[in-house]
């Protein structure tokens, strides 16, 4: 089996996912094109060698519809022989895109590819693609569908994480992200987004609130009381988890991932193409796995997917230097730390989506890059990238520096 080497990665900054957000005027195709152009330009890449561009996108409708990967390849000025495909594994789409690109390289059916993702949540709101899961009565009823916020609160209620626990976690995420930006840990990978005249529109993650304290967060109202109590979803969750006395709504806008716009891409290839094109390999993708878990609690996939990929790679959690688990909700990370017995100083060391935001389809590729940069900075070797996924899934990837 061929090795899938990671040659480079870039991401856009994350803009607030609303009309006042800096990236709101930028179309998803434009945002993706700038990301792809940057990856090409900084590697002086002859794009005709690319066998595929695989991009994750969770709401692939409207201006994100009709295979945004192929469209962005064309608008970025890539060679026209480069195909593109868009995929959707919900919140892990960006990571799944990398895994998909890597698997073709490992299988010898591809030499060089880009995996990444995009989501402009200010322009194509979450849920724009509808779907049977939540709204086909038969499906929603039979699978005990509940929205993610309820699932996150269910995790907190079932595993005993208090409001204080989740808020404390969020404060630390903000502090770590602020520190990482201050120290310039992200500067090599975040590319400024520019407008039509080449003027910078955004060069930093604008969702962050450095200096947030637990007192600040304690003032926020729980976000999921209304769907829980008035739309019936608490009851649905308890029907599936009757051992939980009641759902405690602990998650707020302050301890959940932020809604943002952004795009990211990772350049992957086999050894020979790297040598031929003069690219320097930075890491090797050791393995990856996805898994399905109970869909009502929905967000408990990280631990089983991590265990699955560790087993596949013949490793244990102790062999991993850094964990990067998407901060969809604070309780998701707290549960993972409990289940895999991982200390907080080994996971999400530069903060995460609670501080910087979670551009759904792009996040997997963003955190992949973040943790690779951090391994290099610390001169450590292995990292496990992991995301909880809608519908009750988890996706995990292990990388190792070369």
């Amino acid at each position: 089996m061929a090795d899938a080497f990671v040659y480079d990665h870039v991401r856009t900054p994350r803009g607030r996912g609303k009309a006042s957000g800096s990236l709101h005027p930028i179309t998803p195709v434009e945002l993706t094109s700038q990301m792809l152009a940057s990856l090409r330009d900084r590697n002086e890449l002859d794009t005709s060698y690319l066998d595929d561009v695989v991009l994750g996108c969770v709401s692939p409708v409207g201006e994100q519809g009709a295979n945004i990967a192929r469209v962005s390849v064309l608008t970025a000025g890539y060679a026209q022989n480069v195909p593109g495909k868009q995929l959707n594994r919900f919140c892990a789409s960006g990571l799944e895109a990398i895994n998909t690109a890597a698997s073709q390289i490992m299988a010898g059916q591809s030499d060089l590819a880009i995996g990444g993702g995009v989501e402009c949540m200010s322009r194509v709101p979450m849920g724009s693609d509808s779907g049977a899961m939540a709204a086909d009565p038969r499906v929603a009823y039979d699978t005990y569908f509940a929205p993610q916020g309820i699932s996150a609160d269910l995790i907190a209620s079932k595993y005993g994480f208090s409001r204080d626990d989740v808020d404390s976690y969020a404060v630390e995420s903000q502090a770590r992200a602020a520190n990482a930006w201050e120290q310039g840990y992200f500067k090599n990978s975040v590319i400024p987004v520019v407008d039509r005249l080449g003027m910078t529109v955004l060069d930093h993650d604008e969702h962050m609130r450095p200096g947030t304290t637990t007192d600040d967060l304690a003032n926020l109202n729980p976000a999921f009381v209304i769907p829980g109590e008035q739309a019936g979803f608490d009851a649905v969750a308890l029907q599936r988890y009757p051992e939980v006395e009641a759902i405690h709504h602990v998650h707020t806008g302050g301890n959940s991932s932020g809604i943002v716009d952004g795009a990211a891409g990772v350049l992957i290839g086999n050894k020979d193409i790297g040598e031929a094109l003069g690219l320097k390999p930075r890491a090797r993708i050791r393995g990856f796995a996805s898994i399905g878990t109970e869909p009502t609690i929905m967000l408990t996939g990280p631990a089983p997917s991590a265990e699955k990929v560790l087993k596949r790679c013949g490793m244990t959690a102790n062999d991993i230097d850094l964990f990067e688990l998407n901060e969809a909700f604070a309780s998701v990370v707290l549960l993972f730390m409990q289940q895999l017995d991982v200390d907080h100083d080994r996971i999400n060391v530069n903060g995460g989506a609670i501080a910087m935001g979670h551009p759904l389809g792009a996040t997997g590729a963003m955190i992949f890059g973040t943790v690779l940069d951090e391994l290099e900075r610390r001169d450590q070797s292995t990292a496990l990238i992991n995301l909880c996924v809608g519908g009750g899934m988890g996706t995990a990837t292990i990388i190792e520096r070369i």
Partner: protein, 723 residues
């Protein structure tokens, strides 16, 4: 045609008058369906007919399907394909009606429910009479079914998904004017103008094509999963149905699916979807259970099926009510409301007046809500006389005592009363715990002594349990039942036993809950599973409400009464510990199994886990559910065996209406039939060895399972002829 009178007037308008013989209301008999079909052929083929008006020859329009045929449909042995053909028959007749090429108007002179309203929806125009007694609706969900005559397809196409779903998933009835506001009918007119208004429409505009058969039709308010409003309706609606039904009732979500899946299709394809979902409900025991217990058997109970034959009809005009506490006050209210004079007697006038205040408060509420005029309320209150003087009881045909649960006190009031009341008057005790035969010993005429057991709150609870002591005579039974009919409640008749039927069997539920707690089962699991199984309140919460102290005293009293024969049940140690050691006696005392924080929501006491540490592993929710429900079913079988119950229908009705056993089961005995007799016996055998002899299977049930003989084995044949 026997059920439809068909005449054509000089304008060429056919008037179809539905009149099903030997029925007080028109129901959709096979004959009516075939007459309707024949009428449609005539309307469509006769060139001299310009259009048609459908109305009824009775005061109501058409009241719906023949429920008995629905009960029988569950076990008629027909395949899904055959049931589908059956389901299609009526639905396709209505489809032919709306596509017959001539305008058809419904003149809805009175109540149109279920299939009755579906006939109207298949007409091109609907005019309803402004008849105060008339209601319109699609109540099929209440018997576990869906509107299978096109209702799930036409109503949302007419008024939009959300309002249609609200009407159909809740089975709500509308007055004609509300139906007009919702757009279900086109006009409401004076009753005498109903047919002429319908004819006028045919002559003046008479469009023979339904909106949904026109090109470019769109469902009002949107449909499908590409429409934001529709997505929201379906998503939240599905969750609320899950919340309301706990996944125990298949009909509401089936209705929702018919609407969702059907409204994105041409109507004919939508109708096909509807029929298929309808068949799944016909094949589900829930519909059989609800129809059999809550409509057919409850209907028979309301008509006093257990009343002794040969006793002349009686009427209570003056009721004596001893004790003006919570129960006495409630009984006085419902009796005065039903038109009786009530002598409300207590130790002193003040106490009696306090009891009357209860009626004042309830009536004031009705006035405030505009449901009653002040002078009507005043008339009811005037019928209640408060007193402390037994002499006022003179002339009462029936006296009910609801004094303190103490044999001595009850004996005293019995004797004081019997000294005054007429020699043929009946004396009843509302005791919920003391055997009637024992109380009757204080009576000089025990054959006129009977138990009439009400449930609290009396004005809301629909059931009354009549208890026959050993010496209770037929006339006492008849008077008690006639009285219960006067106050419009549903009676069951049981024989004397400790706890009678309802209190006794309900006790097995709370006991099982406490027993599981003591075994180390997570109390949240016990309470939630109980609610998810359809019980109104969890067993631990119920104990807190009635107080553990009461349970403690009842157990002590029972022990004293039975002496050496007393065997404490498995929950007795739990109650003792909470009352004697932990001083957590229930909600009234501020602490029980639950904590009652001031201004906050109650929650399970955190200390429970120290008192009864959780075992690992915990049982599955399904196992907890079986224990809570099956233990009640088994004790009901024992009540039949012991003669406490004389008929299974009383057991089923009493369990649902008395203590809120879940309606989808059809009652404690129908539950066994639903599980399957042999499967139920096998599970109980397993549970008996795992949990104890309270799950031991009675021989009678084992025998029934062997023979495959259900509790209602002989009934369907009788019922069929009755239908």
């Amino acid at each position: 045609m026997k059920t439809i009178h068909f005449e054509v007037d000089s304008d060429g308008i056919a008037l179809l008058t539905i009149d099903v013989a030997e029925r007080s209301m028109n129901v959709l008999t096979p004959e009516l369906q075939s007459d309707l079909s024949e009428s449609i052929d005539r309307i469509s083929s006769d060139d001299t007919i310009k259009g048609a008006v459908i109305t009824s020859g009775k005061s109501s329009f058409v009241a719906g399907a023949d429920l008995m045929s629905m009960v029988n449909a569950f076990e008629d042995g027909r395949s899904a394909a055959e049931k589908y053909e059956y389901a299609r028959t009526f639905q396709q007749i209505l489809r032919r009606l709306e596509t017959c090429g001539k305008p058809v108007a419904a003149a809805i002179n009175g109540t149109a429910l279920g299939g009755g309203l579906e006939i109207c929806l298949a007409c091109h125009y609907r005019v309803a009479a402004d008849n105060p007694k008339s209601v319109l609706g699609l109540p099929e969900v209440q018997v576990g079914l869906l509107p299978g005559g096109g209702g799930t397809q036409r109503l949302p196409r007419l008024i939009g998904q959300q309002p249609a779903l609200q009407l159909m998933t809740q089975g709500k009835h509308l007055k004609p004017k509300a139906a007009l506001e919702q757009g279900i009918v086109h006009a409401v007119v004076a009753p005498e103008d109903c047919v002429s208004a319908a004819k006028q429409w045919i002559l003046e505009s008479g469009d023979a094509v339904q909106p949904w058969d026109k090109k470019g039709f769109k469902v009002p308010g949107g449909a499908g999963l590409m429409h934001p409003g529709s997505i929201q309706t379906l998503m939240v609606g599905s969750a609320l149905i899950a919340k309301e039904t706990n996944h125990n009732y298949p009909a509401p979500i089936a209705i929702m699916s018919c609407v969702y899946e059907g409204t994105v299709l041409p109507i004919d394809a939508g109708l096909d979807i509807e029929s298929k979902y309808f068949v799944t409900l016909l094949m589900d025991p829930v519909s059989r259970n609800m129809t059999r217990t809550l409509f057919i058997n409850k209907g028979a109970a309301d008509k006093l099926v257990r009343r002794p034959k040969g006793v002349e009809k009686t009427e209570v005009t003056k009721l004596g009510m001893l004790g003006a506490g919570m129960m006495g006050a409630g009984i006085a209210y419902v009796s005065a409301y039903a038109g009786m004079r009530v002598i409300l007697l207590d130790r002193d006038r003040d106490a009696a007046e306090k009891g009357k205040d209860y009626s004042r408060a309830l009536l004031q509420k009705r006035i405030d809500r505009g449901k009653m005029k002040p002078e009507q309320a005043e008339a009811i209150l005037e019928r209640i006389t408060t007193t402390d003087d037994y002499a006022k009881l003179e002339g009462c045909e029936l006296v009910i005592e609801a004094v303190f649960e103490d044999k001595g006190i009850k004996a005293d009031v019995t004797q004081k009363t019997e000294a005054v009341i007429p020699s043929d008057a009946i004396f009843a005790s509302n005791t919920s715990t003391l055997p009637i035969t024992g109380l009757a010993e204080a009576s000089s005429r025990p054959e006129q002594f009977i138990g009439i057991h009400f449930f609290s709150p009396v004005d809301k609870m629909p059931l009354v349990e009549v208890i026959l002591g050993e010496k209770t005579g037929d006339r006492a039974t008849a008077v008690a039942l006639d009285y219960i009919q006067q106050i419009r409640k549903t009676p069951i008749v049981v024989n004397d036993s400790r706890g009678f039927y309802t209190s006794r069997v309900f006790g097995t539920y709370t006991n099982e809950g406490m027993t599981m707690l003591a075994e180390g089962i997570n109390p949240a699991l016990i309470e939630n599973v109980a609610k998810h199984a359809g019980m109104a309140v969890g067993p631990l919460a119920v104990m807190d409400e009635v107080t553990l102290e009461l349970g403690y005293h009842v157990a002590k009293a029972t022990a004293a009464a039975l002496g050496d024969a007393y065997k404490p049940n498995t929950a007795a140690p739990v109650i003792e510990r909470f009352v004697e050691e932990l001083d957590r006696k229930g909600k009234r005392f501020g602490a029980g199994f639950y904590e009652y924080p001031e201004g906050g929501k109650k929650h399970l006491w955190a200390g429970l886990q120290e008192v009864y540490p959780h075992v690992d592993p915990q049982p599955s929710p399904d196992e907890v559910r079986k224990r809570l429900l099956y233990v009640q079913a088994l004790d009901t079988v024992r009540c039949l065996d012991e003669g406490v119950l004389t008929h299974p229908a009383d057991g089923d009705i009493g369990s649902i209406l008395g203590w809120g056993f879940p309606p989808y089961t059809g009652g404690t005995l129908s539950l066994i039939e639903t599980v399957g007799l042999q499967a139920f016996v096998d599970e109980c055998d397993r549970m008996a060895s795992a949990y104890g002899e309270r799950f031991a299977v009675p021989d009678s049930l084992r025998q029934q399972a062997k023979e495959g003989r259900g509790f209602y084995a002989e009934q369907p044949a009788q019922a069929r002829t009755a239908a």
